[in-house]
Symmetry: C2
């Protein structure tokens, strides 16, 4: 229950003014070596840490960056947060992660609190696509960088991952292997990413005249639904020989269903996921999937934010990263080909 050590305590112990302490600790202004040593020693003895609130209030930086994500349980967001934390750390910044539970009101509050004085800058991952909300963001004096914002255009810097190309490549990969009936287990309704993945699947199969609505099953990104949907697919009179799932979790569920039927992956049924979560490369057989360049994206987001903090003009920047097919062990030519 020690009262917090203030700059005044350090100044007193070192026998100098608070200004000298501030200058010393922030490496600003000229300080004699002797004084500097004394101040640093005093600060260390006292365990002094500058009060970020005071610092921030004064207009100085806090070195705290806030990241607002819908949730952390999905490995995708957890990985984005991790990558951003690493990138922040090497930029000398701290990253605080805040979740909204996909509640727009919560998102607004969080942004308000953070941009209102706690954080130097903000990174919003998949922000709510509400024009009024986005308008508030645009007006913010605190630098804001968006990750994967699709929809209403803004001039905020935006780092996005495209789902379409990877999903198209994945479907084409299966088609090229010789599959003529490729099932699709969709993502959650209302997710723009899920929509893009479905659109790519439709386009790729349509291009070869192989689009069959029966092969498309609704989903919600979960493993459980992947299991059920795959069963539905396998129960079809003319079942698919390959399944493309809109998430890795869904793909694992589908693999469970296939194995549960006594079939083998990939010999009997090929399976492709989307996301490249850690388990994708660790499972056996390792999952063929599509990857967003999460690390590159987080790095870029932080570079943009650092730039903005340093006064660079980053408004209007849009970085579109392609998604990339990662071929592993769950895809092979169909039995009958």
């Amino acid at each position: 229950m020690t009262a917090p050590v203030t700059i005044a305590d350090v100044a007193r112990l070192a026998g100098v003014s608070t200004v000298t302490v501030s200058k010393t600790l922030n490496n600003t202004g000229r300080i004699s070596d002797e004084t500097r040593a004394r101040v640093i020693q005093a600060a260390r003895d006292l365990g002094y840490v500058a009060n970020p609130a005071a610092r921030r209030l004064r207009g100085a930086r806090t070195n705290l960056v806030g990241m607002v994500v819908p949730e952390l349980v999905s490995p995708y967001f957890a990985e984005v947060a991790r990558a951003a934390a690493e990138a922040a750390s090497s930029a000398g910044l701290d990253l605080g992660v805040f979740t909204t539970s996909r509640d727009p009101a919560r998102e607004r509050e969080r942004v308000a609190a953070l941009s209102g004085g706690l954080a130097d800058g903000l990174i919003l991952v998949v922000p709510t696509d509400d024009p009024q909300h986005l308008d508030v963001l645009q007006r913010s004096r605190t630098p804001i960088v968006l990750i994967s914002h699709f929809g209403t255009p803004t001039d905020l810097p935006n780092v996005r991952a495209d789902s379409y190309h990877g999903a198209h490549a994945a479907t084409t990969h299966l088609l090229d292997l010789g599959h003529r009936r490729v099932g699709f287990i969709a993502g959650a309704d209302g997710s723009s990413q899920a929509h893009e993945r479905l659109r790519a699947y439709r386009d790729a199969t349509g291009e070869r005249g192989l689009l069959d609505p029966d092969l498309i099953r609704p989903g919600n990104f979960t493993q459980r639904r992947g299991f059920e949907a795959a069963r539905e697919l396998l129960d079809l009179p003319d079942p698919p020989t390959a399944i493309f799932a809109a998430s890795d979790a869904t793909a694992f569920g589908a693999m469970d269903a296939v194995k549960d039927r006594g079939l083998r992956v990939p010999q009997d049924i090929s399976v492709v996921g989307f996301d490249d979560i850690a388990a994708a490369s660790q499972s056996h057989p390792a999952l063929t999937t599509v990857r967003h360049p999460i690390h590159d994206m987080s790095d870029s987001a932080l570079r943009l934010l650092s730039g903005a903090l340093a006064g660079e003009a980053v408004r209007g920047t849009v970085l579109d990263y392609p998604s990339e097919l990662v071929v592993r062990e769950t895809t092979a030519p169909p039995r009958s080909s």
Copy 2:
């Protein structure tokens, strides 16, 4: 690029003093209904949000709670963070999550910054067990609650999950099913939880005279290592009929290895995990595992923190939660019994 709206702006628009605005918005002091209405309207019109830094500096609350976790990629910590965020939310608090990447220095910095003025309170998950570090924590004027601290005793409130009992129950469960050779794939070296799980396994098998060092394999909590270790186990001259893995990910790796050998779970080999991550209940067969009551723990941690914030004496409180065996579909009697 709007300059932030301050309390002075609101006061000006409402034609009152800043004090009146503050009182109105914080429901402190007597304000006439008429004035109150005008102030609230003005605040709304301007989109005013109090500057947390200023508020905090003045000694008032920020409603921000900081949580420091080793990392977020492991589903366990992600789940702890999620549960805590929910609990915080229903207590009217915001939860900011900070990661340390298991770097003690990073942890110290984060704690210092957070407790030094940004957050009202702190929750540290598996804090570094360094006496000096813990001493600093104990002296902190900002309330701190520990989650799963084992080791050097402190009088900080501590909410812990026991791994021993669940692990013992899991091993006994397999033994009770009739298994006489139960393999164990350990967790990471240096993790106290991993150590407890191994100890429980040793004790439970030892009690029945069924302890065989050959059946214990090193691990690191990963799925990959689970796969390899399970292979080693299956390659033994006298292989186990059941495998207990120190984490769910490891258990999934082990299941992959079993299936890869053309064996079935649980008919040929039973598998038990530890953690009860989301995938455990969603996989097929659903994984028998051991669960820490993460939600109860996070709830308790937040209740303790709220209490401390409200001036209650919570020092010395230690809440020990038992881990619990969750029997699902991956365990069955051995073939030969």
